[in-house]
Amino acid sequence: MLTRAYHHALNSSTIAPGEPVLDIVDIGLHFGGVTALKDVGFRVTQGHIHSVIGPNGAGKSSLLNCISGLYHPQEGSIHLHTASGAHELTAMQPHRIARLGVARSFQNIELFTHLTVLENLMLGRHVHMRHGVLASMAWFGPARRQEIEHRGLVEEVIDLLSLQPHRHKPVGALAYGVQKRVELGRALCLQPALLLLDEPMAGMNSEEKEDVARYILDVHELAGVTVILIEHDMAVVMDISDRVSVLDFGRLIADGTPDEVKTNSQVVEAYLGAEEH
């Protein structure tokens, strides 16, 4: 149970819990003759931890890249619901999507290695800041005021993720587990309406996994942030997810609560292989 009072809301979405946040409808993604995704569609509900699972190469990361705008699917649509209405994401540039409140972490850590933890987190505030050339050069005045103003939320994220000892260290020099946490923090600093986590526990031992699962749950409970999670550890997925979508060879083969998915014959087949009849 978290007892500490935080002043800043980490969740910027004003959609009511239970309402849809993201509608993915029949998207198809092709690279030349290779089909990465075909007719994939599901709905993500506000306040849920929605996991996407599937064997290697099933198209999970491609799906996340479609949502965050790094890939543009050729077919279908992705609609993000915000207070200002629904936004179509498939043709939008990544930085515009981030501005709408979609934040993400990457499977292979993609931090700004030469910058400090603090600078990385402050970059999470980028979309909320103004960046005039003359004001930046002058420093005194709006630029400095803005730096101090946004520091408050960043410090709360540092506190939430226990990053205090690392604040001024360049992230390239930090341990793998800490780097993963910084990446989660950078996404949180955006005050996400939707948080996309691509294998946040990859390459960790069970203790570190527990820590990360705890952080994700903290963020989720504290801020009510909707999370789309890609993860290979079934125990974690079944434990913390509200809903699970299963991909195999670029197609959606199941979508439901963890219990429904667990007993779905197609899912069992995809993971264990079909039995000979």
Partner: protein, 352 residues
């Protein structure tokens, strides 16, 4: 607040300051004293070298913003210096603009042209971008050479002695007066660059350098960041070029060839990529090296006469050698060497 166990801050404002410890303030005071004393200590030959250093510092800082901080390799610095020099020279001589205004115009014009030549950076990276900026260098020089009306077909522009709103530089105290003109401008330019990199704008440049995909996903507009970096960097080059035009009182294209672009790249490599202070150290190193070599050759005239005979060749060789040594021994340049020296003193008698 600095104590024996570390530096502790009570406010974000205090933490964001550039200097914290007594040692840092002491260094600042010593630096300021040295800069104030320079004109009375140095003779006009060495003061002239100091003045060229002050101009080179602005150019080097500008190039480092682009190459060291934003990760966009540029071989076009010479061209951008030329744009600044011609703009300020022509506007002040032909259009009769006061020099301060013509300098501001030079900054703006060079920034716009730099942003234009930065557009290939939206598609190209690394070596390919280097070649594209090499093209910009050659295009600018070609234009400057061929547009006869720029120089009234003389091949050069004569710039009258600096006159700021009626205040004229004297022949006898030429270098000293120029020193007092250049010093504040250079200090302001260096501070401006330093400030950029403690705000969100500079962080977005460094994010583009370190991880452009993640930068995009976190909301940095790559197009805007890269074009802004080119514009800001070229603005500094324009200022350096404009000042050089009025200081040397002549503008010809021969002063802005590819050699100059490479010299500026060498400055920031030797000084330290991605460091404002490094750009200053690098500019000083590269501009002080030739006169020191000349002095050395003269001093050894009797024992080793071939040194002064082959001086130009030896200068080139030493330049190349310096760059190779830095790349091998300390790729992060003089700035890193200086911070290692500071660490050594701070931790002494312990190793770390």
């Amino acid at each position: 607040m600095a104590t024996a166990t570390g530096i502790y801050h009570r406010t974000y404002k205090a933490e964001l300051a550039l200097r914290h410890t007594k040692a840092e303030f002491a260094r600042l005071i010593i630096m300021a004293a040295a800069l104030v004393a320079a004109p009375s200590v140095l003779d006009s030959y060495w003061l002239g070298i100091v003045n060229t250093i002050l101009i080179a510092v602005i150019g080097a800082v500008g190039l480092n913003i682009l190459v060291g901080f934003t990760g966009q390799i540029s071989l076009g610095q010479g061209g951008f210096l030329a744009v600044g020099a011609f703009t300020s020279a022509l506007l002040s001589t032909r259009a009769g603009l006061p020099v301060p205004l013509s300098l501001i115009a030079a900054v703006l014009v060079t920034a716009v042209i730099g942003a234009m030549f930065g557009l290939p950076a939206l598609r190209l990276k690394g070596l390919y971008l280097a070649i594209a900026t090499l093209a910009s260098q050659e295009i600018i020089l070609f234009v400057v050479k061929r547009w006869g009306f720029l120089t009234e077909d003389k091949g050069y522009v004569d710039v009258p002695r600096l006159n700021i709103f009626g205040w004229q530089i004297e022949r006898e105290t030429f270098e000293t007066q120029w020193y007092w003109v250049l010093l504040p401008i250079t200090i302001l330019a260096v501070l401006a660059a330093r400030n950029i990199f403690r705000t969100g704008l500079g962080r977005s440049f460094m994010a583009v350098r370190d991880q452009d995909i993640a930068a995009e996903a976190i909301g940095v507009n790559l197009t805007r960041a890269k074009v802004t970096a080119f514009a800001v960097s070229s603005g500094f080059a324009g200022l350096a070029g404009g000042l050089a035009a009025h200081y040397t009182e002549i503008v010809t294209w021969e002063r802005y060839t590819l050699d100059v672009s490479v010299l500026y790249l060498a400055m920031i490599i030797v000084g330290g990529l991605g460091s404002v202070a490094g750009s200053v150290y690098g500019a000083i190193f590269m501009m002080v090296l030739p006169p020191i070599l000349t002095d050395l050759a003269e001093a050894l005239q009797d024992t080793a006469p071939f040194l002064s005979d082959q001086l130009p060749a030896i200068k080139n060789a030493v330049f190349g050698l310096a760059i190779i040594v830095f790349l091998l021994v300390e790729p992060r340049g003089l700035d890193r060497i200086w911070s290692r020296v500071k660490d050594y003193v701070r931790f002494w008698p312990f190793r770390y």
